[in-house]
């Protein structure tokens, strides 16, 4: 039996297949479809200090082999997450990454203090790349190297558990952004968040999203994700969770070879909730044929 175990930033996982933030809630719904214990890990919905209602609907649109979303971080707030959501997840033998989002460095620090010390949290994923919330200059925090440094550092100071910084590929200097996060103390990186996009219904002339602009995800963006992971791997040594358009074991392998230590499934879970399970099966099969090989060995193993 091929062994798919990996260890990222000290966290042991049964396999490298995780669920991406915002595409699996807090695990409850998918637990009605498959056994969450089969997952390598789960990254729960972006959590904010206060409960957030999220953006006005419509919040999603279908695009060529992808989708746009502008959920706007609807979530019950950090206290409900700690008191109601984490206890549910503690029933499973499953590393839990909590994705956090704030409006300021201080909010990120406070979230890190609360969640980075909470029971049942294996790691924090710091979302500084959400296109669905308005930051100071209506951009993403990760588009400003100063913010990347300051927020990562503030979170790192408060958190007992490893800190993964989640970045977007929509930056002018991606390699520098990656290095800045690691210099500030990031234990790992999550790559990539959605790309900012938009769609218009030509019949009504209205944007398909009430929020006008949203985040593009799904198979369409896979080449951008692969490129980001490859570039990050060439710059820094920390583990990378690769994501963006993963829908099959082949896609997962492509990310691992590009330099990911683990992968997360997002949009593909919507059209096939069993995607993570079939990916794990596919990886098992792949490594069964190559007993001397392993998930960690193929990391970054590109032939030129």
């Amino acid at each position: 039996m091929a062994d798919l175990k990996v260890k990222i930033a000290g966290i042991k996982m049964k396999n490298p297949v995780m669920l991406a933030s915002g595409t699996c809630g807090f695990g409850e719904e998918f637990s009605r479809i498959f056994d969450l214990n089969l997952l390598g890990g789960i990254i729960v919905k972006g959590t904010t200090l206060k409960p957030r209602a999220g953006n006005k609907p419509p919040r999603a649109a279908e695009t060529p082999y992808g989708m746009l979303n502008s959920i706007g971080l609807q979530n019950p707030g950090v206290f409900a997450v700690i008191n109601e959501k984490l206890p549910f997840l503690r029933q499973f033998d499953l590393p839990v990454f909590v994705n956090i989002a704030g409006n300021s460095k201080e909010e990120y620090a406070e979230l890190a203090r609360l969640l980075g010390n909470a029971k049942g949290v294996s790691a924090l994923e710091v979302n500084i790349s959400c296109p669905n919330v308005k930051h100071k200059n209506s951009g993403l925090f990760c588009q400003d190297l100063g913010d990347v440094y300051a927020i990562t550092r503030a979170v790192k100071r408060q958190s007992r558990v490893p800190v993964f910084v989640k970045l977007s590929a929509e930056v002018s200097d991606f390699k520098e952004t990656v290095k800045t996060a690691v210099r500030a103390g990031a234990d790992g990186l999550s790559l990539i968040n959605t790309l900012r996009g938009m769609a218009i219904d030509i019949k009504t002339g209205k944007p398909k999203l009430a929020n006008i602009i949203g985040g593009l995800s799904g198979p369409a963006i896979k080449p951008v994700g692969i490129r980001a992971v490859y570039e990050a791997f060439s710059q820094v040594k920390v583990p990378i969770i690769g994501m963006g358009g993963i829908a099959s074991a082949e896609d997962a392998l492509e990310y691992l070879i590009a330099g990911a230590s683990a992968v997360a499934v997002g949009t593909a879970s919507f059209y096939d909730p069993l995607t993570p399970i079939s990916i794990t099966k596919g990886l098992k099969k792949y490594f069964e044929d190559k007993p001397s090989d392993s998930v960690s060995k193929i990391r970054g193993r590109i032939s030129f």
Partner: protein
């Protein structure tokens, strides 16, 4: 560790039959015994129309009937997805996810139900109608459409038909007929169940509320996941003093009309 109950299935369901019906619908019968056993009226399933991934999202479809291992849906070829679905052949298979959603809730005390259907809303209403008949609850059925050609009334006995152009039944919208029906049955043991376009649901809600009758509306939205994880399908609801959002796929699609914040 808690014993989990896997009560949402996803699998390739065989197409048992596909027929065109009056009203311009396609009726598709799928081999889906697990879903057929569990399904309640008002619930839906979500279908992957093309294994190649184009279109990307599943298409949600109300359950029209659930009997002897098979589930039926009734759909319009409205756009590219449903168009593709309408060209499936008997013997092919379609990936199905379900049963999804809460379904209508039929109180123990219910004695008379007023069913209001517009467009493909007639599909879950037909399932509910069967269920109510089994439970010996009397019904008034009101079916509205633009014109005669768009009417599907199979299986209903003596439905009230309204058409906007008067080509069949009463001329006009369902509102007036519903008003009359509510006037006749305004008491705690009746309820209105409505499924159709939002303006119709809103009107049904207003009429029912005016008469003090409970009204359950089945809402709809584009759905990316159908199971409650993506938060894309929400509608605005009254939450205490605030407006919040509920997921149509998982908290609905059926809501108490008084909960909904109708968008104009």
């Amino acid at each position: 560790m808690k014993k989990q109950k896997y009560n949402i299935q996803v699998f390739a369901a065989g197409v048992l039959s596909l027929k065109e019906t009056p009203g311009g619908y396609f009726k598709m019968k799928l081999a889906a015994s697990g879903i057929a056993k569990a399904a309640r009226p008002g619930q839906f399933i979500s279908l992957q129309v093309n294994a190649s991934g184009m279109p990307l999202m599943r298409r949600p479809m109300g359950i029209f009937s659930a009997n002897k291992g098979a589930v039926e849906i009734l759909f319009k070829a409205a756009g590219k997805g449903t168009e593709m679905l309408s060209r499936k052949k008997q013997g092919e298979s379609v990936s199905v996810l379900g049963p999804l959603g809460n379904g209508f809730s039929v109180r123990e005390e219910l004695r008379h139900a007023i069913l209001v259907a517009g467009g493909y809303g007639v599909s879950p209403i037909a399932f509910l109608y069967e269920e109510l008949r089994k439970r010996k609850i009397t019904t008034t059925v009101i079916i509205g459409a633009k014109n005669k050609k768009l009417i599907f009334k199979e299986g209903f006995s003596n439905p009230i038909i309204t058409t906007e152009d008067g080509s069949e039944g009463f001329k006009g919208l369902v509102t007036e007929r519903l008003n009359a029906a509510c006037a006749g049955f305004a008491c705690g043991s009746s309820a209105v169940f409505a499924c159709g376009p939002v303006p119709m649901l809103k009107a049904a809600a207003e009429v029912s509320e005016k008469h003090g009758i409970e009204c359950q509306v089945s809402m709809e939205s584009l759905m990316a996941c159908g199971v409650g994880v993506c938060l894309s399908c929400v509608c605005a609801v009254k939450e205490g003093m605030d407006t919040g959002y509920k997921r149509i796929c998982a908290d609905g699609p059926v809501f108490d009309s008084r909960e909904i914040v109708w968008r104009t």
